[in-house]
Symmetry: C2
């Protein structure tokens, strides 16, 4: 009995990133039973990457001591614009992909239904399903790491707009004529508060002669990771503290703009920077939000650091697969 | 036959503003048959204002050569936070109202069902119904006048958020530490591109010795209206041109942020400034949007100046009344 129930329930969620693929096998109550991780190797081209995705799915199934015939469906999050109805990537700059079919070739490789979505969209679905128990009707997810992305659940549904590009919170301009952004613009949220922006500011300060323990932790600042920033922050490094606290202020301002526009029930923060420093940043984020939101826009709004960490996207992929494969 | 059809179809839309009340009687295909306008006189208190709303509704019915027993329902737009389910205003600063019941007392005064909503929300409903023929699933309305407000239709439904405060586009911060805003913040869209912001900038320039035909058109700059700005612009006034073009640039940036976040099918502009200068501003607005939107976010997006002018809210009130009174 238990077996037949579980056979109906097992799904795999996949987080396809620019450098690594993470897959997780989940049971019918979104319990994680096993994971697998391999490198993406996008330079080998889409066909090879899809084979690696399929391998990673099989590895996660095996890791959970199950077999492929017990798998019901797969949900995949991709860093880029995705057309879920066509099952293809429209544009994924980190992978170098334009108009790449995913659903059909993966279904052929795996023999089960495959659903695809933007990675921030699946991450917010994961938070909504596993962390918020599907209660709020409107949830904004904001993910701060190398870049900054977002996903919205509005009126109870994933909202991705007319051409599937909605949720680009990272390129909301907060500071006209501010620092240059990778998108070509200036003063975008991502150019102010992403890890890339923080590292850039630290490098400039160090080149200007400022002292920081970061140069002891990691001589090549270009390779700074969120965990290194956390270490330096906890050791009381002054430069790191200033840079992290400023990023928290920018984040609070961005979230205030979003709360004024969308008045959600919950705002959830995730991504590498938030995993490493979310607790340290949350006070300033909330204070800045309070200062910049309209009366009522923050009433009853829950702002939280996701507890799913880097499992948000695989959890959301699993939730998507479960929802769509009835 | 025609009469019995029409009896089912007649509705009144009301735009309740801080200074005036406008009511319009519409037939079943949203054709405007008659309007009435009176001052609001908010200083007399909510009870007196509601009696004036009822009088204005009766005047619009009479203006269309109809009688009250031919009226099916009324839809009312209010400048503030509205709880449509409870039929009350939560907060309307321009009227000085907090928690004022509207639906029930108006139904008693008028003897027909009354529906209430935020004024920008009904305005975007009006544009969607009468101008866009209910086609797009996602429409953003941005209304630029004394202040700046917005209304969103997302996934085919009016979106007003968890506490009915969504759509506050005017207080999106575009310029950290920019000019002061009436909300207490700095660098909000409203503090950069509303008529109030434009007049402020003109006054500062004139005090600094700059010449402008505006001082000939209207010696008391405090009372400048959108039409005066239009006159000065068309007469080639340099200061006015600079101020209007800068406001168009800020508007383009705000709309780019919104397009990146929400990727709508249509963005509609309205309000006093847009009625007066929309055509003059649209080129710069579109150019700035192009420069600041992500790939794909503008594909197929229609950006237009609403043709409804100051009839947007009464049309939307009528559409709301028709939709909810089946």
């Amino acid at each position: 009995m238990a077996d037949s129930n579980n056979k109906l329930g097992y799904v795999v969620g996949v987080d396809l990133g620019g450098t690594k693929i993470l897959a997780g096998l989940f049971d019918s109550v979104l319990g994680l039973r096993g994971t697998a991780k391999i490198t993406t190797k996008p330079q080998r081209g889409p066909g090879a990457v899809l084979e690696r995705v399929a391998r990673c799915v099989r590895d996660a199934v095996d890791e959970a001591d199950l077999t492929m015939d017990q798998l019901r469906a797969v949900g995949l999050g991709v860093p880029g614009t995705v057309d879920p109805a066509l099952g293809q990537v429209i544009f994924a700059p980190n992978l170098g992909w334009r108009e790449v079919a995913l659903k059909e070739p993966l279904e052929q490789l795996l023999g089960v239904p495959v659903w695809v979505e933007n990675d921030c969209n699946v991450a917010v679905l994961g938070v909504q399903a596993a962390e918020l128990k599907n209660k709020p009707r409107s949830v904004l997810g904001v993910f701060i790491g190398t870049g900054i992305g977002g996903g919205f659940i509005l009126n109870g549904e994933l909202y991705s707009g007319a051409a599937h590009t909605a949720g680009e919170v990272g390129h909301m301009v907060l500071q006209m004529n501010g620092p240059k952004c990778g998108c070509g613009g200036r003063g975008c949220f991502e150019a102010l508060a992403s890890r890339t922006a923080m590292v850039q500011r630290i490098k400039t300060a160090v080149n200007g002669g400022e002292k920081t323990v970061l140069t002891e932790i990691l001589p090549d600042l270009e390779r700074l990771r969120s965990g290194d920033l956390r270490k330096a922050f906890l050791r009381g490094d002054k430069l790191t503290k200033t840079v992290v606290e400023d990023a928290a202020g920018y984040t609070g301002l961005a979230l205030a703009n979003l709360a004024n526009l969308l008045n959600p029930e919950a705002i959830v923060l995730g991504g590498g920077i938030i995993e490493a420093l979310g607790e340290q940043m949350l006070g300033i984020i909330l204070q800045t939000m309070k200062e910049h939101t309209m009366p009522g826009a923050m009433t009853g709004v829950e702002v939280r650091v996701s507890t799913l960490g880097d499992h948000a996207a695989i959890t959301g992929g699993a939730a998507l697969a479960m929802r769509l494969t009835q």
